[in-house]
């Protein structure tokens, strides 16, 4: 079965429908599947629930789907780098479900591993715990969180072979490997496309079993949200100025 598709539109054909839940990898703008997000925008699919740690910024990443009001609900840990997000939220056009970042990561990991629920200390005794089952283990309070499975997961990888084996680069890994496991269908975009055997099997992070479709994005444009640098005369950590 051929996993490689000629472009994002072809790779998403037949997978998109109104009201579906989509997981999108990335932390901030780092490691986001931007080419696939653009194809989802161009498809016109609406009323989406999108699971992603953040919601992009205006005009970039998931910000594109906010601009067109294709998102009904976000499941995220941190948003608001984004004026349009705030406008739509305050106007009641957009729902947000905040999850603690670790709870979000674990819900996705659990969903992909067939675990329907788990207990965590995170959020016990806070408003996050409202309506959730609470239990005590070894004298500590824990709350129950549910595993998450999405209709579609879109992920970005640095390298992939045509079997769908994926390798990520530096902090662009983030939520991508868990999301690859937690989509009923997972579509990956890879910057470098290689043949089976080209990647050392010891280095594969996401085995191809989790990836149904993929595209090659050799000219992926990457964005920096907070460009922080130091001058050549400076050495110690943290003393640089932000520009």
């Amino acid at each position: 079965m051929k996993k490689l598709y000629p472009d994002a539109q072809a790779a998403l054909a037949g997978l998109l429908r109104d009201g579906m839940m989509i997981m999108a990898g990335g932390f901030g703008l780092c490691g986001i599947p931007e080419v696939l997000i653009k194809a989802i925008r161009d498809s016109g699919v609406r009323n989406l629930t999108v699971v992603s740690n953040n919601a992009g910024i205006d005009g970039v990443g998931l910000g594109l789907l906010l601009d067109t009001k294709q998102i009904k609900k976000m499941v995220s840990s941190y948003v608001g780098e984004n004026k349009i997000f705030a406008q739509q939220y305050l106007a009641g056009e957009l729902e947000i479900e905040f999850n603690p970042q670790g709870t979000l990561a674990e819900r996705i990991r659990a969903g992909g591993a067939g675990i329907p629920a788990f207990f965590t200390r995170t959020g016990a005794g806070t408003m996050i715990a409202k309506g959730k089952e609470e239990r005590e283990f070894e004298g500590e309070r824990y709350i129950m969180e549910r595993g998450l499975v999405a209709d579609l997961a879109i992920v970005h990888a640095w390298m992939g072979d045509t079997e769908g084996n994926l390798v990520y680069r530096k902090t662009a890994r983030n939520f991508n490997p868990m999301m690859a496991t937690a989509g009923k269908v997972t579509v990956a975009e890879v910057e470098h496309l290689v043949q089976p055997g080209d990647i050392n099997p010891d280095h594969i992070i996401t085995p191809g079993i989790f990836v149904k479709r993929m595209i090659h994005v050799p000219n992926a444009v990457k964005h920096i949200e907070q460009r922080t640098v130091r001058r050549h005369t400076e050495a110690p950590a943290g003393t640089a100025e932000e520009v």
Binding site: L90, I96, F98, G102, T126, M127, I128, E225, R227, A240
Partner: protein, 213 residues
């Protein structure tokens, strides 16, 4: 003379021990990395999936795939490792991180912490803060003692909690408090900033506390 932001960070750095894995929050906590005592091996964790990071890159060497949890460009060092968000929070929630230093809006005398939302205002989310305070072995808050003359060290937090009974130590511009969060022993003032008086601390603190002998 109360402590400056830098002096608060320097005081927080005294909580570091050799071999510690540490997560620093945004703001004053970030400055703590400037005061790591020489000779101590301390690895900084960034919850987006990086352990051990170096200074900001030289101009022109920024890498969009290499950022910290504040989404700032950073650099690798020889001890660096990368991992997924699930592994990152396994470190945090599994109790493998020794110390979390973070900011706060309010801290209560029983160790309750509020630092993620103000009802009625646009809420940006808790990010990893709830996981950090629930899972890290020691939680140190660094914050201004009061905000616009309103005390921040309270009998009870009025804002929605980030964690219940989670704070071990609070460092403000006026001094250092410890909280016996598990034993229910309450809050203790253990150190005064130079030039600060007990009267000043008392007048700016709503929480009840005892003074260490």
């Amino acid at each position: 003379m109360a402590w400056t932001r830098e002096q608060m960070a320097e005081r927080a750095a005294k909580e570091l021990r050799d071999g510690f894995y540490v997560n620093l929050g945004i703001g004053i906590p970030t400055l703590v990395s400037n005061y790591i005592p020489p000779g101590l091996s301390v690895q900084l964790q960034s919850e987006n999936g990086m352990l051990g990071f170096g200074p900001f890159p030289y101009e022109g060497e920024e890498d969009p795939d290499l950022i910290n949890a504040g989404k700032q460009t950073v650099t690798e060092i020889p001890t660096t490792s990368f991992f997924s968000s699930a592994d990152s929070f396994a470190m945090i929630r599994g109790g493998h991180i020794d110390l979390s230093i973070l900011g706060a809006m309010q801290v209560a005398e029983n160790g309750d912490l509020a630092n993620w939302m103000i009802p009625g205002k646009m809420v940006k989310g808790m990010g990893g803060a709830m996981d950090l305070v629930a899972g890290v072995k020691k939680v140190v808050v660094v914050m201004e003692h009061s905000a616009k003359n309103e005390p921040k060290l309270l009998k009870q937090c009025s804002l929605p909690l980030t964690g219940a009974g989670v704070v071990d130590m609070v460092i403000t511009d006026l001094g250092v408090f410890t909280i016996d969060k598990k034993g229910g022993g309450g809050m203790t003032l253990v150190e005064l900033a130079p030039g600060t008086t007990h009267e000043e601390v008392r007048s700016k603190t709503e929480a009840s506390y005892r003074i260490a002998q």
